[in-house]
């Protein structure tokens, strides 16, 4: 597909890289020639320097042959204008990043009137992920398939756990849980496990199950999954606001620490149920005074990555709370992963992932049939949901007879709302939706699972 990306900030550049890896033709538009130069040197894409909302610039970027325009500049208004003009000039799909909460409250109206295919709010997306994690604190990461009826959860195997040194095939017999272990992260290695793979304390395990089964699994495995009653948020930014708003209807008590008095007033006005505290979170005394030792969850969501990391490490030393750390720039992902920071939230990755899912779905109507896509480990392992078409090389053949690629697992079959954990004798039928977990990235079609 031909895709134009307007604005090459953090999200724009990540998107360009990932979409390029999936063999789309990418055109970039940015005001700064330096930004364009540095990206085109690194990635195989082309750039136009100029204001993306100008008709002439869009024409130069070839808007008329373009299938999709993604506007991710730092101005909501500019993004909307870009999309509006692109819609008129090129009659293409458009995706805009709109992050102002004022616009967000009427996002459906805006989307309708501007003809946007998707309006993405990075803070909202991050907030939703955080809210989901707070509801399921043992998991580091949760993604949903099949409209939330199936989840893919990632958790850390604790020391002295029953899972330590357990083979994957023993899970069913010893824990009596029907969950499917689909990826093991051992150090920097990602393994798609077979029955003989062994789990060790310190590994990060991803598994697929329905929410009820997941709960049962955690219980059997001796991992406490206590519900959260109090959560502390440091930094009163947009994400914090959205999370607090989402949690308003739950029983979780929210405590927000914010340095800026004015923002405190605003938050307290917008969030009547939350407790807003004015103070500097890098002050240990304040944290202790506000009961950091007793809280169930602690999320550091300030604008500074370093501060977030330090705060989370401090919280880990003081309490057993569920930790959530926001990281904006991912320069040292390996290092970050090796620290005990709980769930790490990368807003720009969440945004680009959401857009990527949309692009894949779009391609779906143009031939490929990927329904949804989740990155289990950034760029290294992904879970894909396919719709099975009438493909004679796959349909009706028992899985054990299919010559599947290495490091690939057919993890789940959804047959008309009935969920099947596939075994060797099971077959795929037309109309099924299957979840495939793999370290082979860039699959576009179910046929690609074959060798």
């Amino acid at each position: 597909m031909k895709i134009i990306i307007v604005g090459c900030g953090k999200v724009g550049a990540t998107l360009a890289e990932q979409l390029n890896n999936e063999h789309h033709d990418i055109m970039l538009i940015d005001k700064s020639a330096d930004v364009i130069n540095s990206i085109t040197e690194r990635i195989d894409v082309m750039g136009v320097v100029g204001n993306g909302a100008v008709y002439k610039v869009q024409m130069e970027a070839g808007i008329q042959e373009t299938d999709l325009l993604i506007a991710t500049t730092n101005s909501d208004e500019l993004n909307m204008l870009c999309c509006l003009i692109a819609k008129k000039a090129g009659d293409c799909h458009t995706i805009a990043r709109i992050r102002n909460p004022e616009y967000h409250s009427e996002i459906n109206y805006i989307r309708e009137e501007l003809g946007l295919s998707l309006a993405i709010n990075p803070e909202m997306a991050a907030a939703m992920e955080i809210a989901r994690l707070l509801r399921f604190p043992s998991a580091i990461k949760i993604d949903t398939f099949a409209k939330g009826r199936i989840e893919i959860l990632k958790f850390l195997v604790p020391d002295h756990s029953i899972l330590h040194n357990m083979k994957v095939r023993e899970v069913l017999s010893r824990l009596h849980c029907n969950v499917l272990i689909c990826a093991i992260e051992h150090g920097s290695e990602v393994i798609i496990p077979s029955g003989d793979s062994v789990m060790v304390a310190g590994d990060k395990i991803s598994f697929i199950a329905s929410p009820a089964e997941a709960n049962e699994f955690f219980k059997q495995a001796g991992i406490d999954n206590n519900t959260i009653r109090t959560a502390m948020f440091v930094g009163g930014g947009k994400i914090t606001y959205y999370v607090a708003k989402l949690l308003e209807s739950t029983k979780i008590n929210v405590k927000i620490l914010e340095q800026n008095m004015e923002r405190c007033n605003e938050l307290s006005e917008l969030l009547p149920r939350a407790m807003v505290i004015h103070g500097d979170a890098s002050n240990q005394e304040l944290l202790l005074q506000e009961g950091i030792g007793q809280i169930d969850a602690f999320a550091s969501l300030t604008g500074f990555d370093e501060e977030n990391i330090m705060l989370s490490l401090y919280a880990a030393s003081q309490s057993k709370a569920k930790l959530i750390t926001k990281v904006n720039r991912i320069a040292f992902e390996n290092i970050i992963d090796s620290m005990n920071l709980g769930s790490v939230i990368y807003p720009k990755l969440i945004t680009s992932e959401t857009i990527l899912q949309y692009v894949r779905a779009m391609q779906n109507s143009m031939g490929s049939n990927v329904e949804t896509l989740y990155k289990i480990v950034a760029d290294r392992a992904e879970a894909l949901e396919f719709r099975v078409a009438n493909e004679p090389s796959i349909v009706g053949i028992p899985l054990e007879k299919l010559e599947l690629k290495n490091n690939l697992l057919v993890a789940f079959i959804n047959r008309k709302g009935q969920f099947i954990s596939p075994r060797g004798k099971d077959t795929l039928e037309e109309g099924d939706r299957v979840i495939v977990v793999t370290t082979v990235t860039g699959l576009n079609d179910l046929k690609d699972i074959l060798r």
């Binding site: 390029n20 195989d44 894409v45 082309m46």
Partner: protein
């Protein structure tokens, strides 16, 4: 430096060269020439080494500007070395430096020859010699890029190092698709020329060899008298037109193909290029009208020679060494201007000249109005400071290399016009110079040292100086 990737790339270069050698093998088969066995032997060696080097793809494919420059420069040296082997081993060009000179002259699309009698070579050797022009015209690594998905995003570094011009633009977002488009245009135009020459009654062998020479803007003659042998206005006219066409920035053709004629005609470089040609032809026609029978004949030969020199091809229909000094002066000036960036031609490139002239004008303006601010533009777009800076540096390096080359070649004690134009002709990848290096002369008279200097000049000229300088810089090879 990631040496494994470079070795892997060299392996591919050898594989491709082995494939390219099929053409002279077929030629030898048709003409039943025993010297074809040397091609088979060299092919086997190239392919063998190539397969060993490319057997395993290196795990670490990290590739940066340094690797790009080094692999481009090395690949041209490797290519030339193996390309020279058939000439040397078969004994048709008995001296090693002569064989190397001939092949480097071929790959760099120069067209200077050390052969005193071209026609004494076997047909397969002549075909290989002309074919090297075609291979070298568009660049070999770019060709490999269009075939293999190599180093992901980093292949821009290779494209930058191998394509001529101050700033390399892609036609479409992907380097691979860009390379494919360029090669398609290249191939199509070559085939078109072959057909037109065949219609004019030229034998198939000759039209293939001549078209390869024109497409790469190389200029190896396959007759001792170069293009004067084909005494036909039509055949020479076709070659004139195609030389000019191959000297135009290929972006223009892509714009025409994608139905953007307005942008195509607005391309400042192409307009300047055609303007320079028109003016030069006009002046030379006027200057030489006395020595030809008709004004048309004078125009015809002026046009051929101008097209041949400015596109750095180097065919000739007359001995322009005998022309008046004014005409010769124009031709020498054209040698330095060269063709458009993004074409197969060599030289300093019209776009660089245009930008430099604009910069001079701006400097003059700022002397009169010291506080004036003016942004330089090309094709309506501002020229980035880094581009201007790179052109200035290029000019500096160009002058330094040129001066030293002339000094060394002067040791052979020929007259100044010979030394100067011989270096100009090799450094700008043209072929013939003036006086002792003129169109009817050859380069065999120079000493071995001069030949090595000129080989360096040809490679430096084709790769735009820096890649070649870089592999001689010790810090390139240090692991730091």
């Amino acid at each position: 430096m990631n040496k494994k990737v470079i070795i892997y790339l060299m392996g591919w270069i050898l594989n491709i060269e082995a494939v390219f050698m099929l053409l002279p093998c077929i030629t030898a088969l048709i003409y039943k020439e025993p010297s074809g066995y040397w091609f088979l032997a060299v092919m086997a060696v190239c392919g063998g080494i190539g397969i060993i080097f490319t057997r395993k793809k290196p795990e670490n494919m990290v590739f940066f500007a340094k690797e790009g420059f080094v692999s481009v420069a090395l690949s041209w040296i490797v290519l030339s070395f193996f390309g020279a082997m058939p000439f040397y081993l078969s004994g048709e060009i008995p001296r090693f430096e002569d064989a190397m000179f001939e092949v480097i002259s071929g790959f760099t699309t120069t067209g200077s020859s050390i052969l005193t009698d071209v026609e004494s070579l076997s047909q397969c050797m002549i075909m290989w010699r002309s074919f090297t022009h075609w291979i070298g015209g568009m660049g070999v690594l770019v060709f490999i890029l269009s075939l293999l998905p190599l180093a992901g995003g980093y292949n821009m570094y290779i494209m930058k190092a191998e394509s001529p011009g101050p700033s390399v633009g892609k036609l479409v977002p992907r380097v691979r698709s860009t390379a494919k488009i360029l090669y398609t245009i290249y191939l199509f135009m070559t085939v078109l020329q072959i057909i037109l020459l065949l219609i004019g009654g030229m034998p198939l062998f000759d039209s293939l060899a001549i078209s390869f020479g024109t497409a790469g803007t190389g200029g190896f003659g396959i007759k001792n008298s170069s293009m004067a042998f084909y005494d036909s206005y039509y055949l020479q006219g076709v070659v004139t037109v195609f030389m000019i066409l191959f000297g135009i920035n290929f972006n223009v053709y892509h714009l025409l193909l994608t139905r953007h004629p307005k942008e195509a005609f607005r391309c400042e470089e192409a307009r300047a290029y055609l303007g320079i040609i028109a003016a030069s032809v006009l002046f030379i026609t006027f200057n030489i009208r006395g020595s030809f029978g008709s004004l048309f004949s004078a125009f015809h030969h002026a046009a051929f020679q101008v097209a041949s020199i400015i596109t750095t091809t180097g065919y000739s229909t007359v001995d322009f060494n005998l022309w008046p000094e004014f005409s010769k002066g124009i031709l020498v000036a054209l040698m330095f201007i060269g063709a458009c960036a993004g074409s197969t031609g060599g030289g300093f490139k019209v776009s660089r000249v245009v930008i430099l002239l604009k910069a001079v004008k701006k400097e003059l303006g700022s002397l009169i109005h010291p506080r004036s601010v003016k942004v330089l533009k090309l094709d309506g777009k501002p020229i980035e400071h880094s581009v201007l800076r790179s052109i200035n540096t290029f000019l500096g390096a160009y002058i330094v290399i040129f001066t030293f080359s002339v000094l060394i070649v002067s040791l052979d004690n020929f007259d100044f016009a010979t030394n100067f134009t011989a270096v100009a002709a090799t450094f700008n990848n043209i072929g013939p110079g003036l006086a002792g290096a003129g169109p009817l002369e050859n380069f065999s008279k120079f000493s071995a040292l001069s030949k090595y200097v000129m080989m360096f000049d040809m490679l430096a000229g084709r790769l735009e100086v820096f890649p070649l300088l870089l592999i001689f810089a010790p810090s390139t090879w240090k692991n730091s």
